[in-house]
């Protein structure tokens, strides 16, 4: 066993906020994250904690899409006329493709 005096300053204080933040409940068991050795289980528990224990965890991608779609919308309006021409052309081609795929 390690000498607690020698390791003074290295042993986490079980009452410190940092330590308590890493105490999680999983399957009804409360324990410190450091006790979980299995890498898969640890990753799942960390994910649950990161989600705030919600079962959806895509806030980041939502934000990314919002920024992207706003940018794309501006870009789309800027090039609308060009796109309409392209789109008409594409629709004609698409009818041909419909025939192809129907008979696939």
């Amino acid at each position: 066993m390690q000498d607690p005096v020698q390791n003074k300053g290295k042993v986490p204080n079980p009452n410190s906020p940092a330590f308590l933040d890493d105490v999680v409940e999983f399957m009804g068991v409360k324990l410190h994250l450091s006790k979980i050795q299995n890498p898969h289980l640890r990753r799942i528990i960390e994910r649950a904690r990161r989600d705030g224990f919600r079962h959806r965890y895509d806030d980041h991608s939502r934000k990314e899409w919002k920024e992207y779609s706003e940018h794309a919308r501006t870009k789309y309006h800027e090039t609308h006329n060009q796109y309409s021409k392209y789109s008409d052309y594409h629709r004609t081609g698409y009818d041909d493709y419909t025939d192809f795929i129907t008979n696939y």
Binding site: G28, V29, R54, S61, A72, R73, R91
Partner: protein
């Protein structure tokens, strides 16, 4: 109790049932519509579902899963048009996913997916021998080399998180080799059992619920006790661990489990639209006339979402499946997949036909996790 965020309807789009592969287990219904989705149906679908999610669900976000058949047969211009329509709807977010056999991935598709933030799921049944046995081209030629090359190209651009792998008589004897093949290459996977429907009824490649349970337990052990880098995710194990862990908690308990099969009342979250605009509860029911919910061109979303199949699914949800009432895994399973109940037990008001396999798997996983957590347990909450 964890408050579940508001959720909109996600759409599994089967814009074509055509496919260039000839998989022995394809579950596409023999009556599934021919042809492809036209421009008008595409527009109606995107506008109507987005509008419904906004006005009836209070959610400004819609998820489209482009499925099939093989969705890439439609060509990149079909998806350009879909994105053009999505972008024209202000203040609404769209999430696009494609589930493909990956034989038609071109540099043009790669650029498009990257530019428009599409997530791409690839169907690949393990390594060359198992994949080619299950998923040859329609002319019988092997498809593995093409699929694997596309998977690597998609991964290089961070467009895919893994593969979908089917458990049946061809893959069952090779679980260890399949797991090693995926792990060595850092490929995560979702494992689904073969559905007893469509062409699968003739090829007899299906496995029994007991075989399914044993195979999943074996695969779980291969994965869970393997700490070698790189670690990979295997679903539904990650989902089951997550659901089980939170369902047994005293604080932060889970209201509704993750995962397609175990959701509460999945019809509230998913619909499927087929080429001509007909709507069904999910892709697995496409073509089943008893589950026809309406047509996206002719009917309002309000009418579709209050159609007979919705009421039937709600009955499954509110009354619950009688035989599941005493089961301790009910909170994370919710009687499983309604389609597997319908196909194997004749009614969506029954439990999933693979129930014995799932129950064995849940029990095994719970014991494994409790051991890892040090054996200290709280009393399990009894199932409602």
């Amino acid at each position: 109790m964890v408050v579940k965020p508001a959720e909109g309807v996600s759409v599994i789009v089967k814009a074509t049932h055509g496919c260039n592969l000839g998989c022995g287990y394809c579950y596409t219904h023999p009556n599934a519509e021919k042809g492809v989705m036209d421009q008008g149906t595409l527009e109606n679908m995107i506008y109507k579902v987005a509008s419904y999610n906004h006005s009836s669900r209070g959610v400004d976000e819609t998820n489209f899963v482009w499925h099939g058949g093989e969705p890439l047969l439609l060509g990149v211009d079909f998806y350009r048009e879909a994105v053009r329509i999505e972008i024209s709807i202000e203040d609404h977010l769209f999430d696009n996913e494609v589930q493909t056999n990956a034989t038609l991935v071109t540099p043009e598709f790669l650029d498009f997916f990257e530019q428009h933030h599409f997530k791409v799921g690839v169907s690949m049944d393990g390594f060359a021998a198992t994949h080619n046995a299950n998923r040859p081209y329609a002319n019988g030629q092997p498809s593995f080399d093409d699929v694997f090359a596309s998977l690597m190209a998609l991964r290089e651009r961070k467009l895919t998180s893994g593969v979908l792998c089917i458990l049946n008589k061809n893959t069952l004897p090779h679980l260890e080799e399949i797991y090693e093949f995926l792990r060595e290459r850092g490929i995560s996977a979702k494992v689904n059992v073969q559905f007893p429907a469509g062409r699968a009824l003739d090829t007899k490649l299906d496995i029994s619920p007991a075989q399914f349970g044993r195979a999943m337990i074996k695969l779980f052990d291969l994965w869970f006790y393997d700490a070698r880098e790189p670690t990979i995710d295997i679903d539904p194990f990650a989902e089951i661990l997550y659901n089980l862990g939170l369902a047994r908690n005293t604080e932060h308990r889970l209201e509704s489990p993750m995962g397609c099969n175990s959701r509460n009342n999945c019809i509230n979250s998913f619909i499927s639209v087929v080429p001509g605009g007909n709507v069904y509860p999910c892709g697995r029911f496409a073509g089943e006339s008893a589950f026809y919910m309406g047509n996206i061109n002719a009917d309002s979303m309000e009418a579709i979402m209050s159609s007979k199949p919705v009421l039937l699914f709600q009955q499954r949800h509110t009354q619950g499946v009688q035989s599941c009432a005493p089961c301790e895994y009910k909170p994370i399973c919710n009687s499983g997949c309604a389609d597997q109940a319908y196909l194997m037990r004749g009614s969506v008001l029954e439990k999933d036909g693979f129930c014995p396999g799932y129950k064995a798997l849940f029990t095994h996983i719970e014991m494994a996790v409790r051991k890892e957590l040090g054996g200290e347990t709280h009393a399990r909450p009894s199932a409602k």
